[in-house]
C-alpha cells in the first residue's frame, strides 16, 4: 500500500546541511571547492597523468613555447623549460610537492595545535599566561624568518620547509583554539553542563568541542593558503625544495634564467600557485560566510 504523506512536515536540516546550503548557493565558493578537489586528486594521481617524467629532458625541445603559440607543439602542452623538460608534467608532479606538502604541514600543525590549544584553553592562571607569551614570541617570527633559522641550522631542503612552516603555523592554531575554548568556557551553557555534573573531559568533548570546529575549519583554510605561499616563496628563495624537484616556487626560480626569452617558464608555475591559493581562499571565504550567521 502506497504511503502518502498527510502532513507536510518540514525536514529540519542539520547544521552541517545548513552550512552546505549557504555555501553551495555561491558559485565562486563551489568553483573553489572543485579546484581544491581537483588538487587533492592530483596530489594522489598526478604522477600517473603526466605525459612525461618530471626530470625527463628532451634535448630537441629546449624552451618550447606553450601549444597555443605558433611555435609550440601539442606534445608539450605548456611548453618546455631550458633543459627541455615538459612544464605540464612538472606541474602535475609539483602538485604533490607544493599543495600536498602544504596539506600535510597543515594537518600536522592542526593536530598539534588542537591538542595544545585545548589543554591550554581549559587551563587558567599562570601556566596559561606563560604559554600565551611563548606563543606570542613564536608568532612574532614570520614564517620566512623561521625558515631562515631552520635552514641555517640544517641546510635547505623540502623536509626543512616542513619544519619551518609547521613551526610557524602551529602557534596560530594553538592560539585560535586556545582563545575559542577560553571564550566558550565562560558561556552559560557550559556552566549549565557543569551544574549537571559533567566532568572536565565531558565538558570539553561534548560541550565545547562542537563549537570549536568552526574555528578549526576557518583556521585550516587560512593556513593551507598561507602554507602554499610559504612553500613556494621558500622554493623561490632557494631555501626550500631544491632543483631539480618540480616544486612550483622552485620552478619559478629556475625559469628566471630564461625569463626574458621564455617568460612562460615563470608565468605558468606562478599561475598554478595563484590558482591553487585562490581556490583555497574561495573555499575559505565561502565557509566563513556560511558559518558566520550560525555563530551570531
Amino acid at each position: 500500500m502506497a504511503q502518502t504523506k498527510i502532513y507536510l512536515d518540514d525536514a529540519i536540516p542539520s547544521p552541517a546541511m545548513k552550512v552546505w546550503r549557504v555555501f553551495a548557493s555561491k558559485p565562486q565558493a563551489l568553483a573553489g571547492l572543485w579546484g581544491v578537489g581537483m588538487l587533492l586528486l592530483l596530489t594522489l594521481v598526478g604522477h600517473y597523468l603526466a605525459p612525461f617524467a618530471a626530470e625527463f629532458q628532451d634535448p630537441d625541445a629546449l624552451l618550447l613555447p606553450p601549444s597555443w603559440n605558433s611555435n609550440g607543439t601539442v606534445e608539450h602542452f605548456l611548453g618546455t623549460d631550458d633543459l627541455g623538460r615538459d612544464i605540464f608534467s612538472r606541474l602535475l608532479y609539483g602538485v604533490q610537492l607544493t599543495f600536498g606538502t602544504a596539506v600535510a604541514i597543515v594537518s600536522s600543525a592542526l593536530v598539534v595545535g588542537v591538542i595544545i590549544g585545548s589543554i591550554s584553553g581549559m587551563m587558567s592562571g599562570l601556566k596559561s599566561s606563560i604559554l600565551g607569551h611563548l606563543l606570542d614570541a613564536l608568532l612574532s617570527i614570520p614564517s620566512l624568518l623561521m625558515a631562515i633559522l631552520v635552514v641555517a641550522v640544517t641546510g635547505p631542503g623540502l623536509s626543512n620547509v616542513f619544519w619551518a612552516v609547521g613551526i610557524s603555523l602551529t602557534p596560530q592554531f594553538v592560539r585560535a583554539i586556545h582563545q575559542t575554548v577560553h571564550e566558550e568556557l565562560q558561556k552559560e551553557y557550559v556552566t549549565a553542563a557543569r551544574l549537571d555534573g559533567a566532568n572536565a573531559l565531558q565538558i570539553f568533548w561534548y560541550v565545547i568541542m562542537p563549537n570549536v570546529w568552526e574555528t578549526v575549519i576557518i583556521q585550516t583554510t587560512l593556513a593551507v593558503s598561507a602554507a602554499i605561499l610559504d612553500i613556494a616563496a621558500l622554493g623561490f628563495l632557494n631555501l626550500g625544495a631544491q632543483a631539480p624537484q618540480p616544486e612550483w616556487g622552485t620552478m619559478v626560480l629556475q625559469g628566471l634564467d630564461s625569463f626574458l626569452t621564455a617568460p612562460w617558464t615563470v608565468t605558468i608555475p606562478g599561475l598554478a600557485i595563484l590558482l591553487s591559493v585562490l581556490s583555497v581562499n574561495l573555499v575559505g571565504d565561502g565557509l566563513r560566510s556560511a558559518l558566520t550567521p550560525m555563530r551570531n
Binding site: E55, D82, L83, A243, L256, T261
Partner: protein, 540 residues
C-alpha cells in the same frame, strides 16, 4: 658623460606616468661615471690572496698595477711599473728597471709621502714567499696562485739593487716566469702603507682598505650592493675619463641584463647564452665576445672512493653527453673541450683522445668495476663564471645522463664564498668548476690544475698526483723551445686522458654586454677586466 636612449625613454614615459610628481620633467642629469654590473662580492681587495675571477675583476686592473703586462694578441710583454728588463744568460736572474714618477693613491686612511720605488716591489713579493715577513700570515687564505706554481721554491730572493732597480734571483730557470709576473695576481702594494699599518696594529687592513698605483681608487664597498671607485688623479698612465667607476653587484644574470636594458648599468658581466637573442633585439646593446683562454671541467676527487677507481671515472666520462650539454648550456658560445688546454693557446694540438658519449660502455665499465647503485655528489658553482655560465644547469644535465646509466647524482650548491670555503676541505665527490687563464703560457693550465704541488694549494680540485705527468710538465717549464714544449704538453694530455682525473667539458667564449655608447672595453682572452686599459694598451 653617459646618457642612454633607454634612459631617455624612461624619463619621457615616467613623466607621463608621474606627471604630478612634484619635480617636473625632462631628462635627468647623471654624474659622469661608469656602472658595471658585476656578478658577485669580491673576497678581498688584494688579488695576491685569491684565485677567483670576481675579485680579480674588481681589483687587479682597477686599484693596482703589475711590473709588466701581457699583450694578449702578440703574447709579448709590455712595460707597466717596470720600464725595461733584462734576463741573465743562465736564466736565473731577472733585472727590472722601475718607472719613475708613479704615485700611490691618497686615501683618507693613508697619505703617501713618497713615490713608488724598489722597496714596494721587494715587499710585495717577499710578503708571498717569505714566512718571516710580518704580513705573510695576515692572509688567511694564503697565496693560492703563487703556491700552485711553486713560486716559493722558484724564487731564491728578491733584491733591491738601487731605488729603481730590482733583481729576482731564481733557483732554477723557468720559462713561465715572465708570464707569471704579468698575471693579475702579481700586483704591487705599498711598503709605506704596510709600515703604517704595522705600526698601528691594523695589519689585516692591507687586503681590505686597499692602496695601489692603479687608475681607480677604492672609495666604498657595501657587500651585496656595490663597490665604488673614484679615478686616481695622480695616475701615471692615461687618467681615466670617467669620474667614478661603480661595480653594481648583481648575482643574477637576468637581473644584470634587465639593469642594462633599463640603463642602471652600462656594462654587464657574464651573460648567459640564452639571453643573447634579447641583446640582439635591443639595438642599443652590443655583445663583445672573444674566444677565451679557459676550460670548464668536471673534476673527480680521486682520493675519495669510489672515484679513486679509474674504471669508475672512465665510466662517468663516457656517460655524459657533452654535445647536448654544449647545446643547452652554452648554445653557440663554446666549443667542446678535448683536453684542458684551449685552442687559443699556441701549444694546443687537439690530438688528445676523447671520451665520446657512450652510455653502454659506461654501464659495462661500472659492471667491470663491480660497482652497483653508485651515488655521487656533484658540487655545482652557484655563480656564473667565464668558463661556465650556468653550472647548476650543467649539473642537472649531467644528473640526467648519469641516471640513464644507473648512477644517482646529488647536486650540492652553496653561495660562492661558502662554496670555495667548503671545497677546500676536500670532502666532495666531484665538482663542476673550471679555470680561466691568467697569462698566455700553457703552463698556466697544466701546473695549477693537476700538478702534485697544486694539491696542497687547493687549485688541483681532483687531488690527483701523477709522477709521470709532473715530470712532463716540469720538463716543459725549463725549456724555451715552443715546439718541444708543445710535444711535452701533448704527452701530458695523454696521461690525463688515460687517468681521467677530470672530464674537460668546454672552452667558452668570453662575453660582455654593453651599451653602444659606453666607452670601449678591451676584452682580453685571459685575465680580469680593466676599465682603463684602452688608453694604456693603445699607447705602449
Amino acid at each position: 658623460m653617459l646618457r642612454f636612449t633607454g634612459k631617455l625613454r624612461l624619463r619621457l614615459s615616467s613623466c607621463t606616468l608621474l606627471g604630478l610628481a612634484l619635480v617636473g620633467c625632462g631628462p635627468l642629469p647623471v654624474p659622469s661615471g661608469l656602472v658595471y654590473c658585476s656578478e658577485g662580492n669580491p673576497e678581498s681587495f688584494n688579488p695576491q690572496t685569491v684565485t677567483s675571477g670576481t675579485t680579480i675583476d674588481a681589483t687587479s686592473h682597477q686599484i693596482y698595477n703589475r711590473l709588466i703586462d701581457d699583450n694578449p694578441y702578440t703574447g709579448e710583454f709590455i712595460p707597466a711599473l717596470a720600464t725595461s728588463w733584462h734576463v741573465s744568460k743562465d736564466g736565473l736572474n731577472y733585472d727590472f728597471e722601475l718607472r719613475h714618477g708613479v704615485n700611490f693613491q691618497d686615501r683618507p686612511y693613508f697619505h703617501p709621502t713618497r713615490q713608488f720605488n724598489a722597496d714596494d716591489v721587494v715587499f710585495s713579493f717577499e710578503r708571498i714567499i717569505d714566512k718571516n715577513n710580518p704580513f705573510h700570515f695576515v692572509s688567511r687564505t694564503g697565496y693560492p696562485f703563487f703556491e700552485s706554481i711553486g713560486f716559493e721554491k722558484l724564487i731564491k730572493r728578491v733584491v733591491k739593487l738601487d731605488s729603481d732597480k730590482v733583481r729576482f734571483e731564481l733557483n732554477y730557470p723557468d720559462a713561465s716566469f715572465m708570464a707569471n709576473m704579468a698575471t693579475d695576481f702579481a700586483v704591487i702594494l705599498s711598503k709605506e702603507y704596510a709600515d703604517q699599518l704595522q705600526a698601528s696594529g691594523h695589519m689585516s687592513d692591507i687586503d681590505s682598505k686597499a692602496v695601489g698605483t692603479g687608475p681607480f681608487m677604492l672609495v666604498d664597498y657595501v657587500k651585496n650592493e656595490y663597490i665604488r671607485f673614484r679615478r686616481h688623479p695622480g695616475y701615471w698612465g692615461t687618467i681615466p675619463s670617467a669620474d667614478q667607476l661603480v661595480f653594481d653587484i648583481t648575482p643574477r644574470s637576468t637581473i644584470r641584463l634587465s639593469k642594462l636594458i633599463v640603463g642602471d648599468c652600462s656594462i654587464s658581466a657574464l651573460p648567459k647564452a640564452g639571453e643573447l637573442p634579447v641583446v640582439a633585439a635591443h639595438e642599443n646593446l652590443t655583445l663583445e665576445s672573444q674566444p677565451g683562454m679557459n676550460v670548464a671541467y668536471w673534476a673527480f676527487n680521486t682520493r675519495k672512493p669510489p672515484l679513486d677507481n679509474i674504471k669508475v671515472r672512465q665510466a662517468l666520462a663516457y656517460a655524459i653527453d657533452k654535445q647536448n650539454l654544449l647545446r643547452a648550456v652554452y648554445q653557440d658560445t663554446a666549443v667542446e673541450a678535448s683536453g684542458i688546454l684551449p685552442p687559443s693557446s699556441w701549444a694546443y694540438t687537439g690530438t688528445a683522445l676523447d671520451y665520446q658519449y657512450n652510455p653502454q660502455k659506461a654501464r659495462d665499465l661500472l659492471k667491470q668495476a663491480g660497482i652497483r647503485n653508485l651515488s655521487i655528489d656533484i658540487w655545482a658553482m652557484p655563480v656564473a663564471r667565464i668558463y661556465n655560465p650556468n653550472s647548476q644547469k650543467t649539473a642537472e644535465l649531467i644528473q640526467a645522463d648519469l641516471a640513464a646509466v644507473g648512477v644517482r647524482a646529488n647536486i650540492v650548491s652553496y653561495d660562492w664564498s661558502v662554496f670555495t670555503r667548503k671545497l677546500s676541505s676536500s670532502n666532495y665527490d666531484s665538482v663542476l668548476i673550471g679555470w680561466s687563464a691568467d697569462n698566455s703560457d700553457p703552463d698556466n693550465f697544466y701546473t695549477p690544475l693537476l700538478s702534485c704541488g697544486s694539491v696542497a694549494s687547493k687549485s688541483n680540485r681532483s687531488n690527483w698526483c701523477n709522477a709521470q705527468y709532473d715530470k712532463l710538465i716540469n720538463r716543459a717549464k725549463v725549456i724555451t723551445d715552443k715546439g718541444e714544449r708543445t710535444e711535452l704538453y701533448r704527452q701530458a694530455e695523454e696521461v690525463i686522458d688515460a687517468e681521467v682525473p677530470l672530464v674537460p667539458l668546454a672552452y667558452a667564449k668570453r662575453m660582455l654586454l654593453k651599451h653602444t655608447d659606453a666607452p670601449p672595453i678591451l676584452l682580453m682572452p685571459f685575465g680580469g677586466i680593466g676599465f682603463n686599459d684602452m688608453g694604456n694598451k693603445g699607447q705602449q
